[in-house]
């Protein structure tokens, strides 16, 4: 078994807020190999963005990792100095943020921002870096790359800006790209283009993708594996097709029901009542229980852990029998998701 490119073991992250200490991530483990395409989905507040930032060491000032290990190709980041850590992460992983207008330096030309990694970190000459930036811009589909090099972010449309952000993420030849809701701020057509770009890159350059989003349709298109996050933990993990056709966690099931299925025009919307739990308070029992249609007494007292259920993993006391039967029923009706 080869060493995974990125390995996260039992990560815990806390955030200091005005309401108290928030346990944003309560034990997440993840293994990613080069070339894989992983989705992390959840509601806002589930901790999905924080996960990416925590791994890359980009947590805000009021947040910190309280325990857990992150390994790049088997090397634990704990054992490295801060500079080495930053360098290793930057070498292997690029990140694309949600809102490109905020994620790009407003007073620097896009070309220079894309050329920055080759020029400043890889030590290339200015001309070579400039050339590389143009290549990357062409790779991500920015027309008139040579002219556009000298343009400022605010002069580009949203779609082009996001491509610039992707070019920046690619500029260090990473093996993995983190995407934090990169298409949420874009309209549907541009969204489709950006997704296609990411899929192309995955094929051509063999870059893996970790895609964080609340949009299930996007995950369906672009990811092989999915991790569903709730209240700071993974509650279901598995292959995307499996998960969408046979969800074994009530939360996933509810999400799929709530997401209008474009193709099969599902009429009823199964809306999930209630709100996400307040993670400044200690969690007793399963955090989804108050909103869960399958909850029983045991769900209120004991928090379930991830267990293998068929080909997926799920953290639910009822994953086994009940959910499988439910999924089986739905298959007859036309599927919970697609």
């Amino acid at each position: 078994m080869s060493t995974p490119l990125l390995s996260v073991r039992d990560l815990h992250v806390e955030i200091q807020t005005s309401r108290g200490l928030l346990k944003a991530i309560r034990g997440i483990s993840l293994d990613i190999d080069a070339g894989q395409s992983i989705g992390i989905v959840g509601e806002s507040g589930s901790g999905k963005s924080i996960t990416l930032k925590a791994i890359l060491g980009l947590l805000p000032k009021n947040a910190r990792i309280t325990s857990g290990e992150i390994l790049i190709e088997g090397v634990s980041l704990n054992s490295l100095s801060a500079n080495k850590r930053a360098a290793l992460l930057a070498e292997k992983i690029g990140i694309v943020f949600q809102d490109a207008i905020a994620a790009l330096n407003p007073v620097m030309t896009v070309g220079r921002q894309i050329a920055e990694v080759p020029y400043r970190r890889l030590g290339w000459s200015k001309e070579k870096s400039h050339q590389r930036a143009i290549e990357l811009m062409q790779l991500v589909g920015i027309p008139n790359a040579e002219e556009r090099f000298h343009v400022y972010p605010h002069q580009l449309s949203g779609g082009l800006r996001q491509r610039v952000a992707i070019a920046i993420a690619l500029s260090g030849n990473p093996q993995l790209i983190f995407c934090d809701e990169p298409t949420t701020a874009l309209d549907v057509t541009i969204q489709a283009q950006v997704l296609r770009l990411l899929m192309d890159l995955r094929q051509k350059e063999k870059t893996g993708v970790v895609f964080v989003t609340h949009d299930l349709a996007v995950v369906n298109e672009i990811c092989d594996e999915i991790n569903v996050m709730y209240a700071g933990r993974f509650v279901e993990r598995g292959g995307v097709q499996d998960c969408f056709q046979h969800p074994v966690h009530p939360y996933t099931y509810s999400l799929l029901k709530a997401a209008p299925d474009m193709e099969h025009q599902v009429e009823r919307l199964f809306s999930i009542l209630g709100e996400a739990p307040d993670l400044t308070k200690p969690v007793s029992g399963c955090p989804f229980a108050p909103r869960c249609f399958a909850a029983t007494d045991i769900c209120l007292t004991s928090e379930p852990t991830l267990q293998l259920v068929g080909s997926s993993t799920s953290a639910c006391h009822h994953s086994g029998s009940f959910m499988q039967s439910l999924s089986a029923l739905d298959v007859n009706e036309g599927g919970a998701g697609r």
Partner: protein
Amino acid sequence: MSTTLIRGKSLTGRLKFKGNGSFYLGIGIISLLVIIAAAAPLISHYDPTGQDLLNTLVPPSRHHWLGTDQLGRDVFTRIIYGARIDLTIGFAAVLLPFILGTTLGLVSGWFGGWFDSLLMRIVDTTIAFPFYVLAIALVFIVGPGPKAIILAITLVGWVAYCRIIRAAVLVAKELDYVHAAKLSGLPTARILRKHLLPNVISQAIIFSMSDIVLSILAIVSLGYLGLGVPIPTAEWGSMIQEGQAYILQQWWIPTIPGVMVVITGFGLSLIGDGLVRRLNK
């Protein structure tokens, strides 16, 4: 097995600096000052302008807690009587700009159009005038004393309130509840008064706290220049000016009035900050 990636002090408590405590501290300080000022005759039996030329520049003692100045007047008494002048004018001077600026900002932001454009032109012209220059010019016109100060503060001060309220109105008028009020056919004045105003006024109130500080600074500065409240009356600014000559030996005579202003400013700033925090909850 589990190791901490980032070593650092605990995060708990660090962001709790200036909790509600400081807000109440501010209120306490200002209340204390107001009470002392109001009760001045009860606290000190001296006459703030009463001279005693046999006992000039006496150091602090049991009879004169802060000593006497160059004319034998009791410094402590003059300080607390000075509070009356400075605090009163400071608070009063902000009232008119508040009302005027808020009203104009409300109307301008709501109706827009030529009125708004014209008003913004006037605003641009007004902010070009450095406040002190204008204040001095006004003293020239209407004579020294609180009248000029209040007039100057009003003429220049309304601008800030106008802009703050106008900006808040421009945002608020796009909100749902305002649209609802409009659609329900309520008369405009009523919408402005009952729906818009309560929600935008908080910004103005917060600003008025620092504005009061600024107006007290103005009175003190003009008093220093001899353009404020006429001389025998105890006022912190003129006390600073008169005391300047004695700074080396009797340093407290000009220093303490300034400290009083700092304390007042401190209290008001705490209140202002506290209000910001409360309103952002």
